[in-house]
Symmetry: C2
């Protein structure tokens, strides 16, 4: 594959946060009516000003700077003292041991962990099972390493009480030779959590076929009341065949520090460090210190964060569900909602652009997550509560205006 | 190529900073005499406690944190305001325009820029010309993307007044089909600067063959008095065929913030951003703010930094040159010195381990930079002056003790 072909498949024009690079287009001819006034809301990512970083994060960073060279230059996989601390907390959270020396790597964001984990398990021509829909980079990562994507359907809309994975498709993928399965739990974009039965079935199928499972648990701490969460790594699968990815960038609003971790399989973590040495050397040295605050937030802090997000979620769902033709499942966890819109007089891709132009509302088109989700849009509702509700009111007003 | 083969070529055990992961080995049987007392010095990287980060860097970082979401979530290629600022300064420094919108990307360290630039120019089977010796990751990057390394000899030892590139080999590489040439200037590890004639010849050859040149100028600001520096990008080569990489992590001791930039070819920078989106999203948002201090240091600050490094350099050279059989060229720029050692009673690889054990002196073996530099070692002399001199005195004492 030539470099030109390889990169033609790596488009980022509609990726969250990149909207500012879109050229002015012929969209003007499609516009109906006047713009709607209101405070602009960028639902492509969370608003860390509305939901501030963990208390103490900056102080710990400052202490890292004061520590000087030993914090600036860590092992490529990260400072050992911090790995020890984090390993204990992650073992407690996930219910299975974490090897601080050989089974954990600190990465520049969870994106860094995803990149390294796919790079370290996927050779040219390898089959990799990924969910549809799922995080937009998953497909691109597999394609960049010239692996073959085997899509697995997630029937999130029709599966209350479970995520809705099509286990027959997963079994068929393994039977056809897929040696890697990558999925996010809770699912990004749909916010659904895999049930204990679903996780047990994934472990059983992967175990039977000797497959490696990479699970992106970025939002697993922001779990709404009454929901149960099952950690794949605490189940029956050989621990050397599981890599778990987490990070403090979302729920904890620490994105600006670019931190993630991957933990589990020693063999894969070892390869990931070798690769990180030539990709970015290490996660920012001073930033690593911020992990000291992770899973050590003040009492009640996480509960309050969850309460506030639930309140926003429920208000947005009410506005969306009052609009005929809009359908949406209640997210179990995290801060994404993924409504399906009715047919419109413009394409859904154009509607996403119109939303930005006429309502100051930035959302991510469903096609970033699945070729079959073109009528859906993703909203990260970790926003100012009032501004978010008003923005979604403008959104549904435009749905009415452009209804087919 | 299987994943196992691919990663077996990516060893990091001897990479700078990774020595802590080496297992205790059978080295004990080779030891002669007692350990030498003295303050340990890790010459594998600079000591940012001895040469502190640029004044004001932390304040600017803090302001970035205070700016909140808009600093945490930038375009993947980095905050536009910061790109504008840096583009102007880099244009002035290098003597050719820099396009802030389309021709510059901020990366997690210069390592990030190197990785992306090779990934975006090298497909499987492509020939890439690289210098021997040169920065240890260059070879690994080409091999990771299954390119073919075409080595070009650098006769640094015998070429005062120029770096010593073998231009006939470079021409032969281009004639044989190499479409990319990657080199560091000043050279890492030898600290030599390419002359105006050498740069003009590189530009002429690359231009004639339509090749892209990636030049890593990480140390180009730390230039010793009387040296001239020629920027390739200000020469005759088509600007779309040049990518220049720099960063504030070395001379400015800002490594802990993980910052680099690549600038030049719009087409390649555009691909680099697409790839960065799935590799690490962006350089740490708050860290990007630190670039505001770059090329804007207090008056006299850089001159003083150069003066102090020159003083250390000259003292170390005197100690090394007083030792029979040790040969070393005076570095023109930067803080690396790359002496060749005489034959010893142990292998040079074992001697590097013995140095650590018996003298508390960590250096990087020459084989990291070239298969033909096994008798050389690299020292980053950006250290405490007195400690560095004493450490090199212990080093030459052990050369005497183990002399063949």
């Amino acid at each position: 594959m030539s470099i030109q072909e390889k990169f033609s498949r790596l488009g980022t024009d509609n990726a969250p946060g990149q909207e500012v690079r879109q050229e002015a287009s012929a969209i003007a001819t499609l516009l109906r009516g006047a713009a709607l006034a209101g405070r602009p809301v960028d639902f492509s990512h969370g608003d860390v000003d509305a939901h501030e970083p963990t208390p103490g994060a900056f102080d710990v960073f400052s202490a890292g700077v004061a520590a000087g060279g030993r914090q600036a230059y860590t092992e490529y996989r990260g400072d050992f003292g911090i790995r020890e601390l984090v390993a204990l907390r992650l073992a407690e959270f996930t219910g299975a041991p974490v090897d601080a020396r050989d089974g954990l790597i600190i990465t520049p964001g969870t994106q860094g962990a995803l990149f390294l984990s796919i790079a370290c398990t996927t050779a040219r021509g390898d089959k990799v099972a990924i969910m549809q829909p799922d995080y937009f980079a998953n497909r691109k990562l597999v394609e960049f390493f010239e692996g073959t994507v085997v899509p697995i359907r997630l029937d999130y809309a029709g599966s209350e009480g479970r995520a809705g994975i099509d286990l027959e498709q997963l079994q068929a993928a393994f039977t056809a030779g897929a040696k890697v399965f990558l999925f996010s739990n809770p699912n990004n974009p749909a916010g659904v959590v895999y049930s204990a039965n679903e996780i047990a079935a994934i472990a059983e199928l992967a175990g039977r076929h000797g497959a490696t499972v990479i699970v992106d648990q970025l939002y697993s701490r922001l779990l709404y009341p009454g929901m149960a969460y099952t950690h794949l790594r605490a189940g029956s699968l050989d621990p050397e065949n599981v890599v778990t990815i987490m990070g403090p960038s979302k729920t904890e609003s620490l994105s600006g520090y670019r931190l993630g971790v991957a933990f589990g399989s020693r063999a894969i973590i070892n390869r990931m460090e070798k690769l990180q040495a030539i990709v970015s050397l290490r996660a920012g040295g001073y930033s690593q210190a911020v992990l000291r605050t992770w899973f050590d937030e003040p009492a009640g802090w996480m509960q309050e964060r969850i309460r506030r997000h639930q309140a926003i979620r429920d208000d947005l769902l009410a506005v969306l569900r009052a609009t005929p033709g809009v359908s949406v499942r209640t997210p179990d966890a995290g801060s994404y909602v993924f409504p399906a819109l009715p047919d419109l007089a413009v394409s859904h891709a154009d509607f996403v652009r119109i939303l930005r132009l006429q309502a100051g509302v930035t959302v991510t088109p469903g096609t970033e997550f699945s070729p079959h989700a073109g009528n859906s849009i993703r909203l990260n509702f970790s926003q100012d509560h009032e501004a978010a509700v008003q923005a979604v009111e403008r959104l549904v007003a435009l749905v009415e205006r452009y209804r087919a």
